[in-house]
Every structure is written in structure tokens, then in C-alpha cells.
Symmetry: C2
Amino acid sequence: MKNIIITAGGTIENIDEVRKLTNTSTGKLGSIICNEIVRYKDIDEDLQIHYILSTNAEIPLVVPDKIKYYKVTDTDSVIKIVDYLFQKYKIDCFIHSMAVSDFTASYSIQVEQLVNELVNEIRNTTDRDFRKKVTSILQMPMNTIDKNHKISSKNDIIINLKRTPKIISTIKKYDKEVFLVGFKLLSHVSKEQLISAAAKLEEENQCNIVVANDIRDISEKNHIAHLIKGGISRNIFNTKEEIAKGLIAEIFRR
Amino acid sequence: MKNIIITAGGTIENIDEVRKLTNTSTGKLGSIICNEIVRYKDIDEDLQIHYILSTNAEIPLVVPDKIKYYKVTDTDSVIKIVDYLFQKYKIDCFIHSMAVSDFTASYSIQVEQLVNELVNEIRNTTDRDFRKKVTSILQMPMNTIDKNHKISSKNDIIINLKRTPKIISTIKKYDKEVFLVGFKLLSHVSKEQLISAAAKLEEENQCNIVVANDIRDISEKNHIAHLIKGGISRNIFNTKEEIAKGLIAEIFRR
């Protein structure tokens, strides 16, 4: 175990020059996992943690010589740094605790402008193939607002959010030997639904383990999570520290 | 001068349970203004600062007994606390340095669902009054996504951002004697455009002074801003500290 990548915090997607799409992630869990790994008694002396963090994420408190920091902003910047690290190092473990945005702002447009484009297109159409035309306009209208400036607040606007690539799906393509830890966060679902979704994440991305949690079980003090391996819940943790220690047991057991 | 309200930081508007619309504001300028006021030599002993700050804003470093903190999240929560403070206290000065979101998420919808609604409406319409129908759908479609849950990442989505009420326009309605400091932030405009926009803000909201700045003139070290009074630039500042001192000179001169 020489090189570990930890991703932490929540990515930030620009809507315009000042407005941003972000999420509730604080990077606290990633920071605690990092601290616990460095403190772990059986740790390899040469261990290097590559810590990919968003600009608003908590920073681990441990001695800095074991950790290299890589600050990121949006999903695209995470993809680039992950690619760089896999090219440069033989990565042994990838702990993907970052809340990477599922969406990025594709375009913004004034509601009125979008109405105009739809109405004009519909008026001019003869073949009645509305669906194709409406879809095409909603995917990318003509009169979008320049993303590099501040959007005027004079009109209501519509934003299209398109899905970002799933970083976790690329990790085993870089190196099938890397020990991959995935995280599944859902909201107000049953235990069975949570475990089933985590098992799906595990299988589709060849994760070695998945940490599964529900937003309602996360508070300042507590953080309930299941450790999923082979599609089954193997352990339940009650705090971020327990999650970190449980992960270390799995990662260094090999 | 007994009661001063300072607003600082950037508001956070929920898109769903985990995703948020926010902005680049750090609350640093508000915090420096607050520090400088408390340190001001001619300060009234009974002075009370009511500090309205977003959860991610910097906190002033000064002695706490002169400052009451009110943490806010979205624009609606700012409106509520401003209303509360004007009901409870005789406010002498209102320094509105907070970057209040111009928009709040009205609805989110899967792109496909919106296409369906538009196509069905168009197909069923006989009177060809497309504009009204299209506008009405874009303003509030039927199959929107529940804001209280986490939006699935399986489909691209469209978000409608509707304008929020302008808090600054309500201040002189609470009390026409309050000394009102407005802030105008624009992006990459000429000096004339900036001053003209600030003068408009001043006039429309009966501000006593307006601080006018351009995003491109704000960096870690520098913060260039004009002090606008009577529609004219009266002074230029180069740092946040200079802005704070310039404001104090204006506020306590009376």
C-alpha cells in the first residue's frame, strides 16, 4: 500500500461568473478517513495520500508530509486530476468520498427567450414532428446567456442541467488492481433500497467495498452507514470515526 | 447611532435536499466593516450591531458583546429576520453588503417530462394560442420534482429560477430615517456603466450611499470601489479596509 487517493468535499459547478451550483458536502468524512489512515499503527512508511478536495472542504489535521493536496472546483477538474494521478503513480487504493455533482450547467436562458424559440419553431413547422423540435430546443436553444458573465436579474431564467460523467466508473479502467471504495448517499429510503442501490454501485463499478448512507441518518454527532461487500451489509457504523476505522480494517486487511 | 444592521455573505437557495444555488461571496467585506465600526474611536457605548450572515460567511474578529449574530440561509430567511429586527428595534443604519440571491429555484423537472407536457399541450390545442400555453407550462409544469428529496441523476433536468424580492427596496419603507448603504456589484463594465447602475440603485431605493464595484477589480489583496452619493462618484477605495473606513466616515459624520 503506497499510494492512496482520497476525494473529499463537494464539487462546485459554475452557472455564471458569480452563481454556483453546489451541495451540502463538507468534506468532513474524507478528512476523518485521512486522519485515521495516517494514525494507523501498521502503516507503510512510504505511504503517500493524494488528497483531492473541493475549495470548501475541511482539511485533514494530520502531519502534512504524508499528504499531497489537489484543490478542485467542478467535476471536470476532478476528472483531470484523477487522470493525472493514475498516469503518474501506481495507485493502490481509491476512496471516493467526494460528492461529485451529478449535473453541470449546460445553458441558461431567459424564460421569455425560450418561449419565443418554442413558439416560433412550432408556428413554422409543417410536418408536425413537434417532439423532435421541442427536444432539440430544450437541449440547446439559440439565445442562451453567456456563462462567463453575470446573468442579469431582470428576468426569470431557465437552466438546463446535463449529467456529468461518473468518475467512479473509470477507476477500474485505469487499473483493475486498485482497491476501490465507493459511497452511496440516498435520501429517506428503506434499508433494503439503500443496500440494493449500494450493491448496484458496487457491481457496476467493481468497487471492493461501498459505504451506504441515508441523508436522514447524518447529523453533527452521528453518521449511520452500512459497509457493503458482495451486495450484502457486512457491518453498521454509527459515527464518521467508526466508518473511517471500518474502512481501514478492510483496506489494510489484504 | 444605536442599532446598526450589517448583512454579509452569500445566500444559499435549495434546489433539492442536497443541491444548492449559491454565489462567490465570502462575507469578508461585511466582516471588515463590522470590525472597523467596533474599533472606531467615536463610537457610542450603547451601540449594537445586528449581524445577519449566511452560514458560509466569515465572522468578524472583534469582541462579541457589541454584536448579535443572526444566521440565515436563503433569501426568504433574510427577509424574515430583517422584518423581525425592524419590528423590535429602532434601526439607525442598514449596511447591505450581503450578496442576496437574485433567483430562487421555482421548480425542477426532467427534460423529457417537460418535452412531453409541451408536445401534448400543442397537439391538443385548437386555437393555436401557443404562446400563452407554452408560457404557462414553462412557468409551472405539472410533473415537477419534489424539492424536499434528492433529485435522481438518471435524467438531465431543467430548473426554473424565478426572481426573489429585492430586500433593499423594503428598507426605507420600514423607516425612512435609517441610513441605508447599498452595494452594486457588476461584471466587466465601464466605469460610467458602473456609476450609472449604482446611481440608479441609490435613487430607486433611497440609499444614502452606494458602494459600487466590478468583479474584475476584486482580488485577495485589492478591492477597488467607488463611493456613490447623489449619483456621483465621491471617492475611490482600493482595499476592503479603505471601503470600511470610508463608510464609517460617511455614517458617523451626520
